[in-house]
């Protein structure tokens, strides 16, 4: 089962896609989110989000600044002031 991942900035909805895993630079440490993660909310420090499209594939790095990550049963939503 893929994880639904959304990356949103004030300017626009940057990403909305199904991925395998996302590693988020939380303010209290990095955390990886897979499908079925428990509901969770964390602030993000400025850094890079690693998006793993497939298991074992090379991750894609997206730089984000000033944000918040929210994991719900619907997937992972990252709200960032700046991204890209």
């Amino acid at each position: 089962m893929p994880l639904h991942f959304e990356l949103v900035t004030p300017e626009k909805l940057l990403r909305s896609e199904e991925v395998h895993m996302v590693v988020v630079p939380g303010s209290e440490g990095d955390f990886g989110v897979l499908e079925g993660h428990a509901p969770f909310m964390s602030t993000i420090r400025d850094g890079e989000i690693m998006v793993h499209k497939t298991a074992g594939g090379a991750p894609e790095a997206i730089r984000v600044e000033g944000g918040l990550a929210e994991v719900t049963t619907r997937g992972l939503t990252v709200l960032a002031e700046k991204a890209g």
């Binding site: 959304e6 949103v8 900035t9 004030p10 300017e11 626009k12 909805l13 939380g26 303010s27 209290e28 428990a38 509901p39 969770f40 909310m41 964390s42 602030t43 000033g66 918040l68 929210e70 719900t72 049963t73 939503t77 709200l79 002031e81 700046k82």
Partner: protein
């Protein structure tokens, strides 16, 4: 009656004015489309952030240590009006309508014995308000082209307002802007931005039966989030303003083009009449000359 030459020149000048207003209308139409798209693109972020703030505020809000931005100063004496208009005119009643609403609300509050201060974003709004409330304008800014505003500038306004709020300069802040309804209607709108008004919580804390975990704790997340929520509200208002300005400009320029067309028609008739009168006079002169022989 004006001479033929003068009329011809007049018609020519009105025609070129019409060309300009027509071009401006077309430019406004193109910019409007872009501004509308931009306003829509920002919606997902605002909605999600609002949801999170609502959920957190419902949890933390009642507590004694609730953040100042949420609970307010507890007073209702000094009001700050953030009036967002544009820097440029030629947009019909766009700027006037926003300023008028702000003025009406200000007079109401002043009548109740409250103090009202102004924080203007946009030269046109400042122009109108400074005539009446010169000494109450605490800050004014000229954002330039509304369509090109970034989130950073909205964040800048938000940070400035928050700093002033925390310094105790005012108790309540209202934001004035025009909501874009359609090309023909833009509604002047007032919105309270400080202290943050919590939208009714749409979802509760449990998600699919599981309890949400927070990292760090709810209070810290909320403290981090509130300035951002204010910034996004300002950003959204500025984006709405950008769309409204272009819509208003389009309508105004459409009217101007039509007026110019009417004027050209009238002048053309006058020109034709004068021309015919001149020909008739000439003919009469020739005929009477021939008869005299």
């Amino acid at each position: 009656m004006a001479s033929l030459k003068a009329l011809k020149i007049r018609i020519g000048s009105v025609k070129s004015t019409q060309k300009i207003t027509k071009a401006m209308k077309m430019v406004a139409a193109a910019k409007l489309r872009r501004a509308q798209e931009a306003a829509e693109a920002g919606r997902p972020y605002a909605e999600r952030l609002e949801g999170v703030v609502a959920r957190l505020a419902a949890k933390v809000g009642g507590a004694d240590n609730a953040p100042l931005l949420l609970s307010g100063t507890g007073r209702d004496q000094v009001h700050l009006f953030v009036v967002a208009t544009s820097d440029k005119g030629l947009a019909g009643a766009f700027n006037t309508n926003i300023a008028r609403l702000a003025r009406r609300r200000a007079d109401e509050l002043i009548a109740q014995g409250k103090t009202v201060k102004f924080y203007t974003i946009g030269r046109k709004g400042r122009g109108v308000l400074s005539r009446l409330y010169r000494d109450q304008i605490v800050h004014s800014d000229e954002p330039g082209d509304l369509g090109k505003l970034t989130f950073d500038s909205a964040r800048g306004y938000a940070d400035d307002l928050i700093a002033r709020f925390q310094a105790g300069e005012f108790d309540v802040a209202h934001l004035f802007y025009a909501t874009f309804k359609s090309v023909l209607t833009q509604e002047p709108t007032e919105q309270q931005i400080l202290p943050v008004k919590v939208p009714a919580a749409a979802t509760n804390d449990t998600d699919g039966g599981a309890v949400m975990e927070y990292e760090p704790d709810e209070e810290s997340i909320l403290a981090d989030l509130l300035p951002r929520a204010i910034a996004i509200q300002i950003f959204r208002a500025l984006r709405e303003n950008a769309a409204s300005e272009q819509g208003s400009k389009m309508t105004a320029m459409d009217n101007a083009t039509r007026n110019a067309g009417d004027l050209i028609k009238r002048l053309q008739i006058e020109y034709n009449r004068s021309r015919q009168a001149a020909i008739t006079t000439e003919l009469v002169e020739i005929i009477s000359g021939a008869e005299a022989l």
